[in-house]
Symmetry: C2
Subunit: 214 residues, 2 copies
């Protein structure tokens, strides 16, 4: 947790520091991100940084837990609030849509999130899991298990396997959806283009029925 001094800062300055840090972490990941760069672009002195944060990890955790997580929650559609009432594939579809909307509107935050998923052996990941109660990995496993228990899947599906690959699968899918439609995805009022919506349907279809003939 950041020190009190950080929260006593005028909001403008606080947000500038956060914004700069996000850019730096998104561009370089955790290890290669530089405190020097952050303080320079924030227009604060190195010493001031350590008045606000205990260390680099402290800042990173704050970005993850208090900025990214808070922002991401805003994108969760109402359908996700009571997951018990909907079937698995509808939930996944909503998850994709809200995730894609979040990613296309907050590409830097998304990149930091992707970094974590790809660095599950990194010490900061361990710390995040112990502080946040692995909110994401458990989330999928619970969803998959529930759906399995309710008989939404075929017989013989390996629940552990599906929940194991889900995070990377989703992250890879988002990558694809965003990368292959950078030029012509017009973010409308709904916040997401029809082209991307079509892709989501194709991905759900793949999950449901695979790629083979029925």
């Amino acid at each position: 947790m950041p020190k009190e001094t950080f929260f006593n800062l005028p909001e403008e300055k606080r947000q500038l520091i956060e914004k700069t840090a996000i850019t730096e972490f998104a561009a370089n990941g955790y290890d290669k991100a530089s405190i020097n760069t952050i303080v320079n672009y924030s227009g604060i002195a190195k010493g001031s940084f350590y008045q606000y944060f205990a260390d680099k990890k402290d800042l990173f955790m704050h970005i993850l837990l208090s900025v990214i997580a808070q922002e991401k929650i805003k994108y969760l559609s109402p359908i996700m609030r009571n997951p018990g009432e909907h079937n698995f594939f509808d939930l996944i579809k909503e998850l994709f849509i809200s995730g894609l909307k979040f990613a296309s509107e907050n590409p830097e935050l998304e990149k930091i999130g992707a970094w974590i998923i790809n660095n599950t052996t990194h010490p900061v990941y361990e710390e995040l899991m112990s502080e946040a109660g692995d909110y994401s990995l458990n989330f999928y496993e619970i969803m998959v298990k529930d759906a399995m228990a309710r008989g939404e899947f075929r017989e013989g599906i390996d629940v552990k396997y599906i929940s194991h690959i889900f995070p990377t699968l989703i992250s890879g899918t988002m990558d694809y959806c965003l990368k292959n439609s950078k030029d012509d995805n017009q973010i409308g009022l709904s916040g997401i283009s029809d082209e991307i919506l079509e892709k989501v349907d194709l991905v759900i279809e793949f999950l449901k029925n695979g790629i083979g003939h029925k």
Copy 2:
């Protein structure tokens, strides 16, 4: 490419350097791997290292192209040599089996390979692709396109999407197969346990038919 002096070294010494480097890269990835550590554990002087290699990247490339790639080729089953004669899912199954055999017998090499897949934006990845003609990514795309052209998939499958997620999907799947059977997978004469073989079949089933009801 390493310098001539490296290849003039007695084989024992050369292999020790390679082995040490592999351990270091597998444990820390490229950036955090330390030349100092490598030379210390290899019992050579820092200066000697730079008599053998132009720089860190030179060593890493050598490990990738001349050690890992060469070793991996040994595991490709005969069925992979003429891919035109077999159907997509059989090919994928063989790919998994040879990949898993390789991974379980060469965990460090596998880890380095996984690092690359997860770091496609890293400069060394670019260099690898330009030197090796992106042997892996193209490989999947070609396989998927061929299979599509031969009508092995349902209508409406997004070829680009499937080939985009394939590398990460395979890498994640291998992870799972190896992680969840560390204790009791007896590597027999066939080189791979029945338990893992069963998992492979489940994964292929997932690819073919998804997780939904038929």
